[in-house]
Symmetry: C2
């Protein structure tokens, strides 16, 4: 997997998030029964069923705040690629680590861990996915 493929999938993740697109989120994550997702302040979700249920709840919540993201770094580590992002949600900045593997020739997410970032670096160009692309 080329790191750019993970960046593309990462962008798809935040686009699905911003658009509230549960189907896209479903397709973006790997089919593996074990997946890791940590939403800020939540306990860890460790099964595909739990992770997808959480996204359905979050994306279906009409008062869910809009998310903007800024990629800090993409890291190739053999068969796995990690993308570190800062997320701007309301007035808060979250730090997220997103993990991708190749599955059946496609790049799929296997991990997302987001938490409040106490001391964020300057974020000059936060990227807001277009809502009406």
């Amino acid at each position: 997997m080329h790191p750019n493929e993970a960046l593309f999938a990462n962008e798809g993740f935040y686009l699905a998030f911003a658009q509230g697109d549960v189907d896209a989120m479903e397709k973006l994550w790997a089919s593996n029964p074990s997946l890791l997702c940590v939403h800020p302040g939540w306990p860890a979700l460790t099964t595909r069923a739990e992770v997808m249920e959480s996204w359905a709840r979050i994306l279906g919540n009409p008062s869910q705040l809009q998310v903007a993201f800024h990629v800090q770094e993409v890291m190739a580590m053999g068969e796995v690629v990690a993308v570190v992002c800062y997320e701007q949600v309301g007035g808060a900045v979250m730090l997220a680590s997103n993990w991708f593997v190749e599955e059946g020739g496609a790049v799929r997410m296997v991990g997302h861990h987001a938490g409040v970032c106490g001391n964020p670096p300057p974020l000059p160009e936060a990227k807001v996915p277009r809502l009406d692309a």
Copy 2:
């Protein structure tokens, strides 16, 4: 990689942490120039040099609090294995996701993301690495 090999490496990680063993920590992490480490409240560290410098600082700090850990789950995802742990540090509970790959026949850490867990589940049997094994 068998998930138990990742659990063994994960235990080695917390043992190195508890013993303040910088050399063991150095050997435990992959040799990849890009590695991901998020300490609670810190910005993300994304190079091996940064990650190792951070551990040298943390492990060399005489007032560093002792850490106990409790594995919630080990997740095999193809070539990569994730281990979710709750860490007890002083009175606080951290949620950590630890990522392992195989490198030259050995299991090595490529990612550690720890943050305060706002709403931890009950932790019946926290595991404190032995200090004088």
